[in-house]
């Protein structure tokens, strides 16, 4: 009961904030609502007993990436953007994409309703999930993980080089 209420509150919060993210004119406000969305997601992870994911979500997305977003917004003068309507050019494309996505979702729900629901996991089964994630990443999927790391490293070096050239 409590968990259900919790879920709906958090989900509503996430969706409403997400709407605010795209409708606010002030980019700083948008960032704040994006943070709320991400925070709600993190709390949902907690409810799913995926504490590691939740913590990583907070540290990386909220503590890291969004700070950089804010940083950039504050450095760049965005007064002009604020005065314009938010959906001036990509309105149609975005609307189309949203419609397609909606159709897709409905289709999945419609054709998937026959599949049986997943069995409820016992509350203790997932307890050491940090270790499980570690094992998954560093043993079962070591190669893809390392490839991803190298890719990121290359991207980082590339970014530094491009910034330096100027």
């Amino acid at each position: 009961m409590f968990y259900l209420v919790n879920f709906y509150v958090l989900a509503a919060l996430a969706v409403i904030s997400a709407i605010f993210v795209i409708t606010r004119r002030n980019p700083v406000h948008s960032v704040i609502f994006l943070i709320i969305t991400l925070l709600s997601l993190a709390l949902l992870y907690v409810q799913l007993q995926a504490e590691f994911l939740a913590a990583v979500q907070i540290i990386l997305y909220i503590g890291g990436i969004m700070v950089l977003f804010l940083f950039v917004i504050m450095l760049v003068n965005l007064d002009i953007v604020t005065r314009q309507a938010p959906f001036n050019r990509q309105w149609h494309v975005a609307g189309l994409a949203a419609l397609v996505l909606l159709a897709e979702l409905l289709a999945v729900i419609y054709w998937g309703r026959a599949t049986p629901t997943l069995p409820q996991a016992p509350p203790t089964a997932l307890q050491p999930n940090t270790e499980l994630i570690g094992i998954t990443l560093f043993q079962n999927y070591l190669l893809p993980f390392e490839i991803a790391s190298v890719l990121l490293l290359v991207a980082m070096i590339g970014a530094v080089l491009m910034a330096k050239r100027r």
């Binding site: 002030n26 700083v28 406000h29 704040i32 943070i35 504490e51 590691f52 939740a54 913590a55 990583v56 907070i58 540290i59 909220i62 503590g63 890291g64 700070v67 950089l68 804010l70 940083f71 504050m74 450095l75 307890q127 050491p128 940090t130």
Partner: protein, 441 residues
């Protein structure tokens, strides 16, 4: 040991039980912390004053003991100013965020083996994550003030915090490697199991954590975001009254939080020093001794105060404090169960206070870094050393686990290697020589 609050459990209705007990603990932590923070400010003023050949607060209460309360009241009653052109919603939100981030972290700090609000299996990650949210208080406060000094202060602060968080993270990793768990309680228990505080096997990581903690809390010598001589008061230049006091509270709470993290990770948390040495068991009477000393001090100073009638209240208050301390001392001595129950919290707070004293001491001693120097120190020195330390810590662990070497010895090999790297890095900068070209008539 069981949670002391559990004795209440049978008396609570079942539906509320999972919520009420944590709430109670949160209340205790929050109120206790607010008081502690207020008195850290007082302690800072007093300690700095004595370092600087002056007296510090002396007027409100005996030796200015009521000064924090008077300050708090004054700040509450002050006019609340929102500058014209400020983004009032964010202006309101920012200090709240700052305080929230600092206080939420305490939910995961094990003050004692029997006193922890909640122990999550990713506790350390959560503490780091939540405390990193404090940066929003600074950035948003600086931005929403719609003024240049705060904005510059906020930008500096953001860059500084993001940079030093990297070094801080690496310093934490070595403690993780040693304990093999992310749970804060688990880390302390690992130190008990090894019979050694991690600071003695990972001194470099502890040092990095200490420096990064100072940078994270914007304290001297890394107090650039609020560098008085350059940016007036940095990000909170435009704040006044209660909002300002929220920032103040958040800042000092953050200091306590990073100290608590450091104590938990490297200084054995709630354990008393040298817990494995049984012959030092008499150290458990330390609280008794401390309160007895406090009582003695109060009495001595009461005797030194002038006998004039206008000092009567001050004298009475000091005597009251002394009496309270004496009662506590006698109580602890007479009731061994109580003495045992407070051991954990007592030692934890003592260590945190030692850490905080370091912060204050630094402030009294050092000039301020320049921004680029701060960044260079962070990126060119702290982070490479932290990475090397993590690496060599892993090497040491392999030596210990796979080859069966001595635990402390193998880790010290790693530490020595790290120090070598640090020396190499340090060798690239020239050493200062105070020389004049010469003198003569």
């Amino acid at each position: 040991m069981t949670n002391p609050f559990d004795i209440l459990a049978p008396y609570l209705p079942d539906v509320l039980e999972p919520f009420l007990l944590p709430l109670l603990q949160i209340g205790v932590v929050f109120l206790g912390l607010s008081l502690i923070v207020a008195y850290i400010v007082y302690a800072e003023r007093k300690i700095l004053a004595h370092m600087q050949v002056r007296l510090g607060p002396m007027r409100v209460g005996p030796h200015g003991l009521l000064q924090p309360i008077a300050d708090g009241l004054k700040l509450l009653l002050k006019e609340d100013i929102i500058p014209r052109g400020a983004d009032s919603f964010i202006f309101w939100l920012a200090p709240v965020l700052s305080v929230m981030a600092a206080f939420t972290g305490f939910a995961l700090i094990p003050f004692a083996d029997n006193f922890i609000v909640t122990d999550v299996n990713v506790g350390l990650l959560f503490v780091v994550g939540i405390s990193s949210l404090g940066i929003y208080g600074i950035i948003l406060g600086g931005w929403s003030s719609n003024s240049h000094y705060p904005l510059l202060g906020a930008l500096r602060s953001a860059a500084q915090l993001v940079s030093y968080e990297v070094a801080l993270g690496f310093a934490l990793v070595s403690a993780l490697l040693l304990s093999g768990t992310l749970s804060m309680r688990g880390i302390v228990e690992a130190q008990i199991a090894h019979g050694v505080w991690f600071v003695f096997v990972q001194p470099v990581a502890f040092f990095i954590l200490f420096v990064a903690a100072i940078a994270e809390t914007n304290r001297n010598p890394f107090d650039l975001p609020e560098a008085e001589s350059e940016l007036v008061a940095g990000f909170h230049t435009e704040y006044s009254g209660f909002r300002f006091s929220l920032y103040f509270l958040g800042e000092y709470a953050a200091m306590v939080l990073v100290s608590s993290i450091a104590v938990t990770l490297f200084l054995g948390g709630w354990t008393r020093p040298f817990q494995s040495w049984a012959w030092l068991d008499s150290l458990k009477y330390m609280p008794v001794a401390l309160f007895a000393f406090a009582a003695y001090w109060c009495v001595v100073h009461e005797r030194r105060m002038p006998r004039a009638p206008e000092w009567r209240w001050q004298r009475l208050m000091l005597l009251g404090l002394g009496g309270g301390a004496a009662v506590l001392a006698v109580g602890f001595a007479a009731l061994p169960p109580v003495l045992n129950a407070i051991q954990g919290v007592f030692w934890f707070l003592i260590k945190v206070c030692g850490f905080l004293y370091g912060f204050i001491w630094f402030r009294g001693t050092f000039p301020r870094y320049r921004f680029d120097q701060l960044m260079r120190l962070g990126w060119h020195y702290m982070i490479p050393v932290a990475i090397a330390n993590t690496l060599f810590c892993g090497v040491g662990l392999v030596l210990w686990r796979s080859l069966g070497w001595n635990f402390a010895g193998s880790l010290w090999i790693g530490t020595l290697l790290t120090l070598l790297v640090a020396l190499l890095l340090a060798g690239q900068t020239e050493s200062p020589e105070p020389t004049l070209a010469g003198q003569g008539d």
